[in-house]
């Protein structure tokens, strides 16, 4: 598959409600390779784009299990195998005393999984992305809302898609270079 000549077409909106309506219309028109850029998270946009549930909670659970298991195993191994200290005949595997550290390592590794998992799934850090080629896109982090239909979409047609976007009455429509 050869690379399309442009990355996609981007429409700019000034108001969140316009954007939500536009996102719905785009989905309804059958476009699938669509992304929306907003200055703050809008739940309705995720719904409009039918974003699937993220796998992140599962990753965090796995992180927590690894952290807790490894934390306890470390203490068990150090206290009973590597360096057992007999204090008045008390058991080497005094597990209640190991719980605080087990809890801390659980939280620590789960938190690492949450942060690094979020960044990895989002593909960040990303030093270059075509959307930044649109000069007005700098406003996406201030007060403007952008909807981009990517050229890899099976329905994408440089003229047709532009006409479609213009029917959504955006402030402007621009082509996104690679």
């Amino acid at each position: 598959m050869s690379r399309p000549p442009i990355y996609g077409l981007m429409a700019e909106f000034t108001e969140p409600n316009e954007l939500i309506a536009a996102a719905r219309a785009t989905r309804d028109a059958g476009y699938t390779r669509v992304d929306v850029y907003t200055p703050y998270p809008i739940e309705e946009v995720s719904e409009a784009l039918h974003l699937r549930r993220t796998r992140l909670p599962l990753l965090v659970l796995i992180g927590g299990i690894i952290g807790g298991g490894a934390g306890f195993a470390l203490q068990y191994w150090a206290a009973t195998i590597a360096y057992p200290v007999n204090i008045g005949g008390r058991p080497f595997n005094s597990w209640p005393a190991f719980i605080p550290i087990t809890f801390e390592t659980t939280v620590l590794v789960a938190a690492f999984f949450a942060v690094l998992g979020m960044l990895a799934l989002n593909g960040l850090p990303m030093p270059y992305h075509p959307v930044f080629n649109v000069p007005r896109f700098a406003l996406a982090s201030r007060d403007r809302f952008f909807l981009c239909i990517e050229a890899t979409d099976p329905q994408f047609d440089r003229e047709g898609t532009r006409r479609f976007l213009e029917r959504l009455v955006p402030r402007s429509v621009s082509e996104v270079d690679h």
Binding site: E15, P16, N17, I20, R24, D35, V36, Y37, T38, P39, Y40, P41, I42, E44, V45, S46, E47, L49, L51, T54, L56, V60, Q75, A78, A79, A82, Y83, S94, A97, F98, P100, I101, F103, E104, T105, V107, L108, A110, A111, F112, A114, V115, M118, L121, N122, L124, P125, M126, P127, Y128, H129, V131, F132, F137, A138, L139, A140, S141, R142, D143
Partner: protein, 464 residues
């Protein structure tokens, strides 16, 4: 999707409370106002004055630490029987202050308290800086601080391992986990705002530095979706974490057998005390900051009132803790416990105890009155009382419990030296220096979360 989704931007009808954001704000004004503090070319003169004073104190800390490394902890006032002095008092005081940041950012997020939005960022920064100050003390008081890494479990040629059953080991894990998770939580919260600064910065250095830190954030809906999940999960993880940290700090005492330490009330009483101290510190910082930067629209009277209410509530829990300590001393019918309380009331450090009562029990009672609660100078004064009071509380717990334990033959007094004070005030300097740098170079209020509060962000019903 038939349910109407409305974000309450302003208080609903009939709500007489002041709003959580001033009227007339839009996405643009919120962004501009908060980012202007950072992106302005002119640094206000008071910033240099404040930073200069704070940095001088931080240099005093450096001096005190250098001298400590040369001479050893003999330069401090600690000795048998009071082996824990200012070092541990300051450690507990600082770590307690840090807790309010996590409470505001995590627990109030889970409880959907929208007013937290304008104070969570700098409260989290406060947490980080307070934990940085706190973390210094246990290391400095080790005697041979350069060997602090012996506390960590690592394979070593001595073939020994740390004693994991000791609360002091729990402390190492609790505090380092807390510092790491707080840092990540804070940084994750900053990413979208760093992108705003990247896009709005007018000079190349700003664009490059903020751009690198923002990691290419572009506000994609797919990203926000995972971002919000991650943020919520971090809040869920931080909530039990913050409770565990001060619980473990209280175990440093409660697991010991010294009268005045060995009490089951310690964990909840420490956690409440931490929140109490932390909110007092947030208030101490928020009141001058909102004034200096004209942020009264974002940190409104409602915020100050709510913080005062949290202070009053946690203050009452702390007062209950003092009461229970006294009650248990009598109820236990244990000579040493009874003596511990008598000694607090009438012993050589009685003036510290009664000052503590004045600061921590009596001072916050004025918050019951609406006139006090809505009077900013009064709130500032009460917060200062609590800051001092919480420090005195740790003095009582650490020093007064140790100076007269079981055997009168081993009683003694504790007198802090110049170096104790130099280290303590030095950490205040370090804390304030970091805070001054933070408000100058990073947005002190979460811009993207503030955008969700403006009326424009309201989603119309027919679309939902």
């Amino acid at each position: 999707m038939s349910e109407p989704i409305v974000r309450p931007a302003a208080p609903e009808g009939g709500d007489q409370r002041p709003p959580i954001i001033g009227p007339g704000h839009t996405f643009g004004t919120v962004t501009d106002k908060i980012s202007a503090v950072v992106l302005t070319g002119r640094t206000p003169r008071w910033w240099f004055v404040g930073f200069g004073i704070a940095f001088s104190l931080a240099m005093l800390l450096l001096y005190a630490i250098s001298y400590l490394f040369v001479r050893g902890i003999g330069i401090w006032g600690v000795n048998i029987p009071v082996g824990w002095g200012f070092d541990i008092i300051n450690f507990v005081w600082w770590i307690g202050i840090g807790h309010a940041g996590t409470l505001i950012s995590a627990i109030l997020l889970l409880l959907r308290q929208e007013w937290r939005t304008s104070i969570n960022r700098f409260a989290e920064a406060m947490t980080l800086f307070a934990v940085a100050c706190a973390g210094l003390f246990p290391i400095l008081h080790l005697g041979r601080p350069w060997l602090f890494y012996w506390l960590l479990p690592y394979p070593n040629t001595m073939a020994i391992w740390p004693q994991f059953r000791s609360p002091l080991m729990w402390d190492v894990f609790a505090v380092s986990t807390y510092a790491t998770v707080s840092l990540m939580f804070w940084f994750v919260g900053l990413i979208p705002d760093l992108a705003t600064l990247r896009d709005r910065s007018r000079n190349r250095i700003g664009r490059v530095i903020y751009g690198m830190l923002a990691m290419g954030w572009r506000g994609s809906a797919h990203h926000w979706h995972r971002y919000e999940t991650a943020y919520l999960l971090l809040a869920g993880l931080s909530t039990p974490l913050v409770v565990s940290v001060h619980t473990i700090v209280s175990f440093d005492f409660a697991v010991g057998l010294i009268p005045g330490w060995h009490a089951t009330v310690f964990p909840p009483y420490f956690v409440a005390g931490a929140i109490y101290a932390g909110f007092a510190m947030v208030m101490t910082l928020a009141i001058p900051l909102r004034r200096a930067y004209g942020l009264e629209d974002f940190i409104t009277m409602r915020h100050l009132e709510n913080m005062a209410r949290v202070m009053l509530a946690t203050g009452l829990v702390v007062a209950y803790g003092y009461m229970m300590e006294t009650f248990m001393a009598w109820y236990s019918a244990n000579t040493y416990e009874e003596f511990m309380i008598t000694n607090r009331f009438y012993g050589p450090y009685a003036w510290v105890y009664w000052s503590l009562m004045a600061c921590n029990v009596i001072a916050p009672q004025f918050i019951w009155f609406k006139r006090v609660r809505t009077n900013i100078p009064a709130l500032f004064i009460i917060a200062m009382f609590v800051n001092v009071g919480m420090w005195l509380e740790r003095f009582i717990i650490v020093v007064v419990s140790l100076h007269r334990d079981f055997l009168p033959s081993s009683w003694g007094m504790y007198y802090p030296t110049f170096w104790d004070f130099a280290t303590f005030f030095g950490t205040i300097g370090l804390f304030l220096s970091l805070l001054f740098l933070f408000i100058r170079f990073l947005p002190m209020i979460s811009i993207f979360e503030m955008r969700t509060l403006v009326p424009e962000a309201e989603v119309k019903e027919e679309l939902a």
